[in-house]
């Protein structure tokens, strides 16, 4: 028992001598002493001497908050050859001397706090932190800008990294965009070099047209099965000449890349800059696969790359860290009848609009009405379609990017087609970002885009026009616009693959299926599950700069992890007393880290031997919160360092 004066910080209101005397007779206390500054080097060496002289197995220090000097005293204990976790601290400064003025009162409280610490120490057990090796390879799931950036940064630090992308090419949503706000850079111009870098990087392996099949293990030691879907084209042999696509007789499939605004062949690459530049056969659309007759592509392929017999392949690999970068999709608008999206081809989504604007798009960059290929004169943009919505088919959150891209679209239109009238209907215009508000004001002021605060009530197709009924909340009146084209800004939602992935990774998700971060403020790019990191929109809506920033942040966290040879755990983790466990799964359900699994195990308890289902804690994953300990009715789950008996002993000592 060591009592600190902390100069006069403690000694001024707590009678340090009295505390020392009072605790001297507590059970287990062998030596009790006090000093000016316990944390000073000199006193730490006296602690060492006391440990040696009295063969101490535990130490109580009455001093400042354990948040301040717990590591200091643990180190001192370890240096003295003691287990560092056999140290308890009674906080008699922050929680006693500093807040109480009356000396006898403060002294009495300090004695009680010291007794509680002794009571806890008497039940302390030496703890050893577990160690586990780290596999120095990372997996990035998703090959959009988030995944690419994360992979590039990790590879740049010298670690192996694999990208798994479910579509035939990397690039993601950004590849579909025409220009980017607020600088109006060409999206492809800034993305393609990164795609090429990713393909060229020695440390990066791409698994396109592939999905994660299963994830096992824990931080530093994940085992992942990756399903490589059959491309029906041998990537090693294919030269990317494109003849097969030209000759393919099945050309009536809607192009996913062009948002269904153009068609593609059954054997295809999604877009010209696709990486890898290797086609895949869409077996649903392929005549050979559907009827057995055709085989044109095989015949025309001089490289003999077409392989109809190719099967899905499962690749099993080890990783130390996993990054989720699964991205987003605009929500389906089938349930928004009021905007006539399903009824009229001239009601389009903003992503479709991007494709219309794009020089490589279906209209070579001419903005025309899909119905009659006429140039529209009056264009209406509707924001918050399904965002900030309370209806069932909508999302409660703000999708964050729509205000800015709508301003971009409106501006581009007015620049390219000065004769057009452009209306934007909005609930609020949100522009918190560098140069964002300036950008929006340019749209209004320089480009004379009509911004109308209010929601569109109905879009009705009417002899070649779209009758848009809306309310102008500022002018407080109903307005009707006969538009030629209506562009909707749908809410964005996490990619549907995220939910299943979340389960595999035991990474928690919110009700909208966005991945939850370990701490909303302080650990925004980590999942609560150790070793799982988050990059891009899978964590929440964000624009390209935010995505890239987060991608880099996730990469740096991964690098930090992979740079370690082994991980040293927190020994204050949950522990299952197997004979008591009744296998009810409650602990598993409340564990935010997926640290608890169940095993059939032989258990022996007081003469009864049986094999049954019991919980098992993965110490590498457990962070020691204790949620499981309270949810466990039998008390089988306990938390080392904060055991049930220890906390109750503290309660007893305090209430004595």
């Amino acid at each position: 028992m060591f009592v600190c004066w902390c100069g006069s910080n403690i000694a001024a209101t707590v009678d340090v001598e009295a505390v020392t005397e009072a605790v001297r007779t507590e059970p287990g206390v062998v030596v009790a002493t006090n000093s000016q500054y316990m944390c000073s080097e000199g006193w730490q060496s006296s602690i060492r001497n006391a440990v040696a002289e009295h063969k101490l197995t535990g130490i109580v220090v009455c001093a400042c908050s354990p948040r301040m000097h717990e590591p200091t005293f643990r180190k001192a204990a370890a240096a003295a050859g003691m287990n560092p976790y056999m140290v308890e601290i009674a906080n008699i400064r922050e929680q006693c001397s500093w807040i109480h003025k009356d000396k006898p009162e403060a002294t009495e409280k300090a004695i009680i706090l010291a007794r509680a610490a002794v009571a806890k120490l008497n039940l302390d057990k030496p703890l050893t932190a577990g160690e586990s090796p780290v596999t120095k390879r990372a997996l990035v799931i998703g090959g959009g800008i988030a995944g690419i950036q994360t992979a590039l940064d990790i590879a740049d630090a010298g670690y192996e990294v694999d990208i798994v992308e479910k579509s035939p090419t990397i690039g993601g949503k950004m590849a579909m965009l025409d220009k980017t706000f607020p600088t109006l850079d060409c999206s492809a111009c800034i993305l393609t070099p990164k795609m090429v870098d990713a393909a060229a990087a020695e440390k990066i392996s791409l698994y396109t047209y592939s999905e994660v099949e299963s994830v096992k293990g824990f931080v530093g030691n994940f085992t992942v099965e990756i399903r490589k879907h059959a491309r029906s084209v041998n990537s090693e042999l294919c030269t990317g000449c494109g003849v097969c696509m030209e000759k393919c007789p099945s050309k009536k499939t809607k192009s996913e890349f062009n948002q269904g605004l153009s068609n593609r062949s059954a054997i295809y690459i999604p877009f010209a800059q696709a990486i890898p530049n290797v086609p895949v056969i869409d077996r649903e659309a392929c005549i050979k696969f559907q009827t057995g007759k055709c085989g044109v592509c095989e015949k025309v392929c001089t490289a003999k790359a077409v392989d109809y017999e190719q099967q899905d392949e499962i690749v099993t690999k080890q990783y130390g860290a996993i990054v989720a970068a699964t991205g987003f999709n605009p929500i389906k608008l089938d349930n928004f009848d009021e905007f006539a999206y399903s009824q009229s081809p001239d009601v389009i989504t903003s992503l479709e609009f991007e494709r219309l604007c794009n020089a490589a798009g279906p209209t070579k960059g001419h903005v025309v009405r899909p119905s009659d290929h006429e140039e529209p004169k009056t264009i209406v943009f509707v924001q918050c379609v399904g965002s900030r919505s309370t209806v069932d088919c909508g999302k409660t959150y703000c999708s964050k990017i729509c205000c800015m891209y709508t301003a971009k679209h409106a501006m581009l239109l007015r620049e390219k087609y000065p004769g057009t009238e452009v209306y934007v209907f909005y609930i609020d215009v949100r522009t918190p970002g560098k140069s964002f508000d300036e950008f929006y004001r340019r749209a209004v002021e320089e480009y004379n885009v009509h911004y109308v605060k209010g929601m569109v009530g109905k879009v009705a197709p009417e002899d070649g026009h779209l009758r848009v009924q809306a309310s102008d909340l500022i002018a407080d009146k109903q307005i009707i616009i006969d538009a030629d084209l209506v562009v909707l800004a749908p809410a964005i939602e996490p990619d549907p693959s995220a939910r299943a992935l979340g389960t595999m990774l035991t990474a928690s998700m919110d009700t909208n299926d966005f991945f939850t971060e370990a701490h909303p403020k302080l650990r925004p790019v980590e999942s609560p599950t150790a070793g799982i990191f988050l990059s891009g929109v899978c964590q929440g809506p964000k624009d390209i700069p935010d995505t890239v920033a987060q991608a880099g942040a996730a990469a740096s966290k991964v690098i930090g992890l992979l740079s370690k040879d082994k991980l040293i755990g927190n020994p204050c983790v949950a522990e299952c007393n197997e004979p008591l466990c009744n296998g009810c799964s409650a602990c598993e359900l409340v564990c935010p880290y997926g640290a608890i699994t169940y095993e059939e195990k032989p258990v022996f308890d007081h003469g009864v031997r049986e094999t049954r289902r019991v919980a098992s804690v993965n110490e590498a994953l457990c962070q020691g919160c204790g949620a499981c300990t309270v949810t466990c009715p039998s008390g089988a789950m306990d938390l080392k360092g904060f055991t049930n008996l220890q906390i109750m002993a503290e309660v007893d000592a305090i209430c004595r």
Partner: protein, 150 residues
């Protein structure tokens, strides 16, 4: 009844504080020299979800007159979800104690962040005042623990 020399009732109060927010909030109250009664003694737990209803009842058994639990604000839990579980558990437990006729003012949950030293001290002062006004806890007590002998 524990009474000090001035003749006022000195309640026993146990406060469970989570390590990351409330305990740090208590430390901040300390370093800001914000006063609250010495009747309150803090027990550090990793997270509010570590607080078992058994501990609360144990405190009453051992003669506590009030028990308060503090944790991170909802949404700020160091372990993401611990305080949500704790919130449900405590809500149900307190409802049960009330149902058994035990004074509601003797139990409390408060969310205190590491930055809220002021709130911590304020909460403690208020809670101590409430418990003091309720007097010694008689409705859930263990007489064996109250005797001076044995």
């Amino acid at each position: 009844m524990p009474i000090d020399e001035k003749g006022t009732f000195r309640p026993k109060i146990v406060a469970f504080c989570c390590n990351w927010c409330s305990y740090a909030g208590a430390d901040l109250a300390g370093s800001s020299r914000l006063n609250y009664p010495a009747d309150i003694k803090i027990i550090r737990v990793p997270c509010s979800c570590r607080v078992n209803p058994l501990f609360m009842l144990r405190a009453f058994q051992r003669g506590a007159d009030g028990v308060i639990m503090c944790g991170c604000h909802p949404g700020d839990c160091h372990y993401t979800s611990g305080n949500y579980f704790a919130r449900r558990r405590m809500t149900l437990l307190f409802g049960m104690l009330d149902y058994l006729g035990i004074e509601k003012g003797r139990t409390r949950v408060e969310w205190v962040s590491a930055a809220e030293g002021q709130k911590f001290a304020g909460t403690m002062n208020q809670f101590a005042e409430t418990v003091k006004s309720l007097g010694e806890c008689r409705r859930i007590e263990d007489l064996r623990c109250k005797e001076s002998v044995g």
